[in-house]
Amino acid sequence: MDRTLRQIIVGFRYVGAVWISVIGIVAIVEWEASATIVLLTLAVAWGWAVVTGLSPRHVIRGWRFLFADLAVGSWTAVAPAFTDQPEGVGGTFSGGFPFSTVLVWAYAFGIPGGVVSGAVVSFIALFPGENQLTTDLTSALIYIAGGGVAGWGFNMLRRSEIRRREVEELLETERSERIRSEERAEMAAHLHDSVLQTLALIQKRSTEPAEVGSLARRQERELRNWLYGAARLSADSLAGGLEEVCGEIEERQRIGVELVTVGDCPLDDHIRALISATREAVTNAAKFAGVDQVSVYSELNGRQVQVFVRDRGVGFDPATVDEDRRGLRESVVGRMQRHGGNAIIRSSPGGGTEVELSISREAP
């Protein structure tokens, strides 16, 4: 805003300089005014206009410049008195130039600046003359009133600018506050739906360790997914599919499944069969091994994929598996063989069980 005001002042001063030049030339040619005085005055006016225009920020601030400005303005106002114009011929040639000084002072000191500088400039112009008192008094009043109005106008513009900026800041603060509180509300809603509910359930079931463990595991997985959502594995790959399966069994069977994957590849029918067989093997371990922890390890080696499902449970004798316990035979061994893969079951009573699944990826 201050910059705009300064530009207005500089602009007005140039206009004033052109104005004083035109009337000055008329005064020399038509009114028989002293060319020396007029040209000197024009030089001062133009010189000062250029100085102000080049660096308005400095000129319209420092005391020294302000008083120089007042001197220049006063001189251009009083100069017509020394031009030795014949009585009654023409008028004063100052034009509007002295008023630019009043604007500068109004800019620097508001209403008092405008009024005081207006008074100084116009009364200095009164001194040497014994001309028509009424005309000069009128012009003095116009200067003083003009200075006051300019000061008042500048103040108003500045104040409205400050108010506008305050309103903007307020809106900005409100906006960021609203965004923050929306985020907080979203976070609170999520935590309420998930973590708080789980904690309430855990308190209710604190006497059932298996249940508590399962609740905590499920919550942990859910929270991790929420926090690091984007970074997690996608479900349509070997590792992603295994993670999904293991999570599902953890939840359903209330055991822990530790999954380690080395290498990953996209799904194809063979890999899907491998994942389904893994699901069956882990479910089996969860149901029959009598442990609370199963380990799953997968490794991709070229086109070959291996999965190991291991528990430290009761184990069994693979040779004597009941006919009706078809899970391992059908869903694991059979499924793997149908897809050109292989399943090996190692188990002994008391020695835990390990199911080794291997298959190669479909030909590209």
Binding site: L233, A239, E258, V260, V262, G263, Y297
Partner: protein, 214 residues
């Protein structure tokens, strides 16, 4: 217990967790102090000289890695066991690369944690199945041409040992299955750890970020 209790120092910015660990293992090991921030931890560890520092990976002010870097070279006798809720590959591998002798998650059972502390105090490495998997993955991904050939690859035996650990076997079970002594298993694991620590940190970071984007 015949062997002396190892002196343990806890570094974790969660008060609740420190209190929990104290009450869980306080009778099995000798907890000689704890700290909840990096600078205090460095000062107190230098003063009290524990055998093992249980180190949280994520902490304000540089995290566990900052504590490791300040202490590790000056006091090689102090061993670090990293403990974290994170199982992000970059965290796990970075802290082990920085000199930790092992990495376990905070949900580890009490007995397993005590066992891990004893192992680390004895200079051995503690590899959880997850860490073993990460290391296997990292070594298969590192470009052999960019690092020393010898360092960049695991021997067949080391790979086999790691694979068993990743499958959920304990060191003792691995030894039985591979017909070697438990001490030999330890030797293999320690050698893997050394190789990991000698690889380029930059390479590992690249591996970890690429892995995450799968």
């Amino acid at each position: 217990m015949s062997e002396p209790k190892p002196k343990v120092f806890l570094v974790d910015d969660h008060d609740l967790f420190r209190a929990g660990v104290r009450s869980e293992i306080g009778d099995a090991v000798d907890i000689i102090g704890d700290a909840d921030e990096v600078d205090a931890a460095i000062e107190l560890i230098e003063e009290r000289r524990p055998d093992v520092v249980l180190l949280d990976v994520h902490m304000p002010g540089g995290g566990g890695r900052a504590v490791l870097e300040a202490i590790h070279d000056k006091h090689p006798g102090i061993q670090f066991l990293a403990l974290s809720v994170s199982d992000a590959p970059e965290d796990v591998v970075d802290i082990v690369h920085g000199g930790a002798r092992g990495y376990v998650t905070k949900s580890i059972h009490r007995d397993d944690l005590i066992d891990a502390i004893h192992r680390v105090a004895g200079g051995d490495a503690v590899f959880s199945p997850k860490l073993a998997g990460f290391v296997l993955d990292a070594f298969s991904a590192l470009e052999p041409a960019e690092v020393d050939q010898e360092l960049a690859s695991l021997t067949a035996r080391e790979g086999e040992v790691l694979r068993h650990i990743a499958r959920g076997y304990t060191y003792k079970e691995v030894a039985e299955r591979l017909f070697i002594s438990a001490k030999t298993v330890e030797t293999h694991v320690s050698s893997v750890l050394r190789k990991l620590q000698l690889t380029n940190r930059h390479e590992l970071t690249r591996w970890a970020t690429e892995r995450k984007l799968i």
